[in-house]
Each structure stands twice: as structure tokens, then as C-alpha cells.
Amino acid sequence: MSTSAAFGGETHWLGDVALRGGTVLDAGGSRKADVLVSDGSIVAVGDITDLMSRSAVVLDASGCVVAPGLVDLHTHMREPGYEDAETVQSAARAAALGGYSAVVAMPNTEPPADNASIVSHVRALGERSCVDVYPAGTITLGRAGRALAPMAEMAALGVRIFTDDGSGVQDARLMRRAMEYARALGVTVAEHCEDAAMSAGGHMHEGEWSSRLGIAGQPAEAEELMVMRDLALARMTGARLHLLHLSTAGSLAMVSAARRGGLDVTAEVAPHHFTLTDADVASYDPVFKVHPPLRSATDVAAVKSAVADGTVDAIATDHAPHARHAKEAPFDVAPPGMLGLETALGLALSELGLPVGAVLALMSWQPAAIAGIGATHGGPLKAGRPANLCVIDTEETWVVEPDRTASLSRNNPYKGRRLTGRVRHTVTRGEPVVVGGEAQR
């Protein structure tokens, strides 16, 4: 058995894998069925007994859901530039353990992915990793918010999402031009919604807790003003807009209204925005520092109901590793961000109260469509499709231990939390990269 590699899931693992005894669940519904994978593709779904080769790797899926691999729209892999916090390899391993077979790599590296050569570099690193890595490109050169990055040369390499994530594009005129330009390329502009003047100096959500704790706040309005602006610009330009990590009731209400008005906009939320609140900052542990900040309990309730009512299209991790020493600093000095790849599915299954199929829609096929990779990821599970799968034990209960991770960092805010639902196996490009909850490489 050996692997060959290429960008965008064209690679495959030579060999047979049989997933036996599970319930297949994809956008088409669920049915009891075995799945046979050979040479990187699904060759049969159903009764596979007569088709299996003797050398097939058999993965026990009894009592489990066999689903299309998860797709994360928002992973900070940190390479190049911050390899002490994470690398493409380590992030990909964490992703596979979390059930992902594909991730979109955020471009706020050092140097940023604002040109074809950095995109090619990240892509090449991803080809050797255990998930498919789809680099996003920046909207502006150097993420500096002053001039457009060469989006066409990056799009020619397959980049479908452009974002200055880490900050928003502050200049409305520049954002208008970016959207116009993106529309012609058929790519999506993704915004980190934060009006920098409104949020300046803030380190947590502005409200009851920031007032008590004496930490400068970022008001919900800092996010909402940019959501409002970008919805107007999307209407004006006809561009495809994706809104990253929305966190406030007001933002989600605006998206819902815009959608009813026929606008082609999609939205993601991060697990920490439906599982943690600004009250968690009371420990002053910078592991709870993140942008957008942990919001009020009211916002958390609004995020949950927007997830349930379809306003939200995707759950995305915003996996943001930081080296240990960086988080052992005063709260207002430490960098924002928290790990997410290995806990996202467990949190979604445990805390949203949604059927498994609805969670998978938010974490697999809907994000695959947003990322423009629906031909390779997100199912459906049928013969001829690329073999990107995960096997989930929806009943298994486990306790989060930050030291048990494939990430190079430990900024996991869920220490000690009990979750129900865990990934048993992950198959990427036909290769069993996670078996029995253990990474295979």
C-alpha cells in the first residue's frame, strides 16, 4: 500500500477498507449499510460481503454513524510562520481525530497567503497531511487592508475563499472593489466582522462582566456594524459573501432578514459561541480569550436558535492554536484564540439538542458546498465517490483532557467537560487515518 498525493483530494490510498455494521447517514438520509472503499473511492454501499478482498482493512462501525467526513471552513494551521504553535501536519492530525477529512486553511500566516507562492506552499504541505487542506487567500495584500491581493492568480490554483480573517476589511470602498472582483472570479469573500475602531483596545465582550472585571470591552455593535455594511455591499455587488464566526443575536437577525430578502449570503458560527459565555472570563484565564469574544448568555441562546432554525449554514471551529507561553500572560496581553478541531463535533452533538443528521449537515455537506469542494467532500456516500468518511459513536461519553491532543498547543477551554459523541474512525482519500480514536500517522 502506498499513497500518491495531489491537491483537492485527487490523491488516494491504494487498498481496501471495509466499514462494517454501521448506519450510513448523509444528505439523503440514513440506512443500515456497510461501506467498501478501494483505491481511494467508495465502491459499494450495502451488502459488501462478496466484494471484499481478503486484504481489506476492516473497521468496526457497529452502533455507529458512518458519515461523510467533516469539513472545517475555519482552521488556523499557523504554518508558515508560527510553527511553535501548530503546523499543517499537527493541525491535520487534530482535524482527522475530530472527524474532519477537509479543512480550509486560514491565510493569516507569516507571511500571509496573499499570493500564489504561499498558497502553493501551504497546499504542498497539505498534500502530505492526513486531511485535504484547502488554502484560503487574503483579500488584501499583507492583510493590511489597503490594496487588493492578486486574487485571480490564487483562484487559478483552486482557492475558492478569500478572507483577511484575524481582522475585518475596514475600508468600505476597498471591500466593495474586492466583492466586485471576486464575483467575476466566481469565488467567495469571507469576512471577519469587526469594526476596528469600535472594538479597539477591547479584550472581551463589553457588558456586565467586562464592567465587573475591569477589562476593556468589545461591544456587540463592533461586529454588527460590519455585518450590516457587508450585507449592503453584497446586495450592491452581487458577490457571494460568507460571514465568519458570527457571535451576536443582532448579527444573526440581520443575516436571517437578508436571506429572506433573497440575498446569497452564508454564515458560520463557532462551537465556543454556543457553549461558553463572557462569565467564563471571570477566571482571567486567557484560554477564554477569543475574537469575536465570548458573548452574553442571551447571545449564546440566539446562536443556538439560529443554528436550529437554519439561519446558520455551518459550524466552523476557528481552531486557533497558541504556544503555551503566549497564553501564560496577562489577559489583555495574551493573543486571542482557542483550539477547536478535536472538540467541535462532541460539543455540537452534546449541546445543541439537534438530530445527528442536522449536526452533520452543519459540519459536513453544507460547509463543503460553501468551500466549493462538494465534488470531493460532504458526500453523498455512494459508489464512485471519493472515500472521505468518518465513523461516529454518537453514544460514547468522554471527558476533555487538554493534554490529550494532536495539536502542538494546549489552549483548550473545555478542560474537564463531559461530551457525548466521539469519532471512532476517519478515512481520508481512502486511507484509514484515524482508527479506534487513534491517529494512524
Binding site: E208, S211, I215, E328
Partner: protein, 352 residues
């Protein structure tokens, strides 16, 4: 401020563990006790410390104001933010208790060489510190340090905009010993420390003030009615759960106050669009001589220092009999002796 905050006297001392008890046992294996904040504290806990401050006030009036209570203990001053007054006050308090005092200067520390805050703290602890007195410009640092140390007591000497618990104690002590209203009610040397019915106005930049946050907690725990006074730009954006009244009108309030507490105004607030000019601030919220004339008989004027004379308070007002600003400084040493003794005392009788 409601109780469910991390800021409190930790652990909650019970009356039986009150400071004058003499245990005398070897307590090196005991979990350290920290003095981080006063938010969430009960009046009884604060009164224990205020009564103890009285006893150290008596020590400080002796010809040789020194007791062996902390002999053999090492107190490390870790002042990551400059504050000569508070550092000197803690330094004096520790020496009068016969502790060894080491001053850690942040300016020359390895923090400038890329070491994490935690590494620095663990180094200081491994050198044998019994207590660290921490001052930091970032809110919450004493709580973080308390979560990292194993044996060392953490005493908060001011963190960011958050808490300055010894300032609040010394302010409450000063009120108890200086307010003619309380003296009339309880007698001049009463140890009641009961502020029921006392009307306190805290005036100025509440939002950025650790002194205000700690004083709101301490004064209201002792029974005072506190009104925060300032322009909306200098008040916290959300006061849910704070046991206070709020006013934007000092003139409407000044004649009712028993205590008029003025906060220091940082001059940079005018460059952050929080205030138009210092002149306008003085006109609306400064305690000018003219405005001070409207204070009622028996009212006292306080300031945590150092004052911007001519901005939040006129020089003339600081010299009036109603000003107790210098008493605040004097009382600071007694109160800090009480805190150090209470949180790291080994049971040696303090009056030896």
C-alpha cells in the same frame, strides 16, 4: 456586585480563625491564603481586618513601631507597574512586622527578555517567598498568579482597572476614624465599623478605576449607600448587579454627601474622546473651592492620591479640615500590616 465572582477574601476566614488566635504550629504545608479582592466579601470579614488595623495603628504610635510577628518570613514586592506610594506603604508595613522584604523590579526583570509571567512567578516562589505583593497594569494578574503558586500567598496591590483591596480597606478605616457623622453615632474609637446610612459619592473616572470597584464593594458591604458620579463616558458600560446609584450631576448631589471621594483623572482620557477638555471636566465634576462650600457640616473629602490639583480637586480644598487625604496615607501602613499579618502570620503574638 453579586457574590458569584472570583474576587473575595480567600479562603473565607471564620471567626474562630480570627487573626489574634495563636496557633504556633508549623504551617509550611498549609495551602497559601490570598488577599485578591474585596468584591463579594462579607462585612464581618472586612471588620476583622479593620479591627486588626486598629491594633497595628497602636503599634505605629509607639516610639519603636516594630513587632516580630513576621520574623523569618520573606515578602516579595512585585511591582510590574510603578507606584512609589503603594510600594513604600507595603514595604514599611512588612518591615514593621519584621519580615524580610525583597523588591522585584519589573524594569530589570527577565520579563523583558521573553520569559512568560508564569516563569517569573515560579522563579520567585522557588526562591522562598512567603508572600508576593503584586501590582500590575493588567486586570486579573493576581488571580492568575494565585492559580500558579503552590505555597506563596498573593496580596493584590492593585490590578488594572479591577481591584485595589488594601486601598479600599484603608479608605474604610479612614472613614471610620475621621467621619464626624460616625464619631457622633458610635463614639470616636468605636470598633463597630458600621456605615449604615452613610452617604458616599465616588466621583470621576469610575470605568478605569480599581479604587472605585474595590471601594464600592467594601463600603457597601459595611452598609454605606454609594452613588457613582461622572459623565456616561467614564462610567462602566453596564452596572447590572452593582449595589449603587448613578448620577451625572454632582451639583445635585453634593449637599447630601457624608463622604465625597474624588478619583484621579488620567489626563489621557481627553485624547480617547471620553472628555472634551480637562477644563470642562473640572467645571462639571471637579471639587472646586466654590463647590466644596456646599458640602454639609461633617462631610469629609477623600482622594487616593496623587491628585491632579486644579482638575478633580482644588489645592485649597485639600488643605481644609474636611480633607482627610493625609490620614489615608498614614492609615495605609496600619491596614497593610493587618493584611500581611492576617494572611501570612504564623501565630506569633503580635503585641510582643
Amino acid at each position: 456586585m453579586t457574590g458569584a465572582t472570583p474576587a473575595q477574601l480567600e479562603p473565607t476566614p471564620s471567626p474562630s480563625s480570627a487573626p489574634s488566635s495563636s496557633g504556633g504550629s508549623n504551617e509550611t504545608d498549609r495551602a497559601p491564603r490570598h488577599f485578591l479582592g474585596v468584591t463579594g466579601s462579607q462585612g464581618g470579614e472586612l471588620r476583622d481586618l479593620l479591627r486588626l488595623s486598629d491594633r497595628f495603628g497602636e503599634v505605629n504610635r509607639r516610639p519603636i513601631p516594630k513587632v516580630p510577628a513576621l520574623r523569618g518570613k520573606t515578602v516579595v514586592n512585585m511591582f510590574f507597574e510603578d507606584s512609589t506610594r503603594t510600594r513604600l506603604s507595603f514595604d514599611t508595613a512588612a518591615r514593621r512586622l519584621s519580615a524580610d522584604v525583597v523588591t522585584f523590579s519589573a524594569a530589570t526583570s527577565s520579563l523583558n527578555k521573553g520569559e512568560s509571567l508564569r516563569d517569573t512567578v515560579e522563579t520567585v516562589e522557588s526562591l522562598g517567598a512567603d508572600a508576593v505583593v503584586v501590582r500590575h497594569s493588567s486586570s486579573g494578574v493576581p488571580w492568575q498568579i494565585a492559580s500558579w503558586v503552590k505555597r506563596t500567598s498573593v496580596i493584590n496591590a492593585g490590578d488594572g482597572w479591577h481591584e485595589h483591596p488594601t486601598q479600599a480597606l484603608l479608605d474604610c478605616y479612614t472613614i471610620a476614624r475621621s467621619s464626624p457623622v460616625l464619631a457622633e453615632r458610635f463614639g470616636p474609637d468605636s470598633d463597630a465599623f458600621d456605615f449604615e446610612g452613610l452617604k458616599v459619592g465616588i466621583v470621576g473616572d469610575i470605568s478605569h478605576s480599581r479604587v472605585a470597584r474595590s471601594n464600592v464593594a467594601a463600603m457597601t458591604a459595611l452598609g454605606a449607600s454609594v452613588t457613582l458620579v461622572g459623565p456616561p463616558t467614564l462610567l462602566p458600560s453596564c452596572l447590572d448587579g452593582w449595589p449603587v446609584e448613578v448620577s451625572n450631576d454632582l451639583d445635585g448631589l453634593i449637599g447630601d454627601l457624608d463622604v465625597c471621594y474624588l478619583l484621579r483623572l488620567q489626563r489621557e482620557r481627553t485624547t480617547e474622546a471620553l472628555l472634551p477638555t480637562l477644563r470642562e471636566y473640572r467645571a462639571l465634576y471637579g471639587l472646586s473651592a466654590k463647590r466644596a462650600d456646599r458640602l454639609k457640616d461633617g462631610a469629609i473629602v477623600m482622594h487616593p492620591g496623587p491628585a491632579n490639583l486644579g482638575v478633580e480637586i482644588d489645592a485649597d480644598v485639600t488643605r481644609r479640615p474636611c480633607s482627610v487625604i493625609s490620614a489615608q496615607v498614614t492609615n495605609g501602613v496600619s491596614v497593610r500590616m493587618a493584611v500581611l499579618y492576617y494572611f501570612l502570620g504564623s501565630g506569633v503574638d503580635l503585641v510582643n
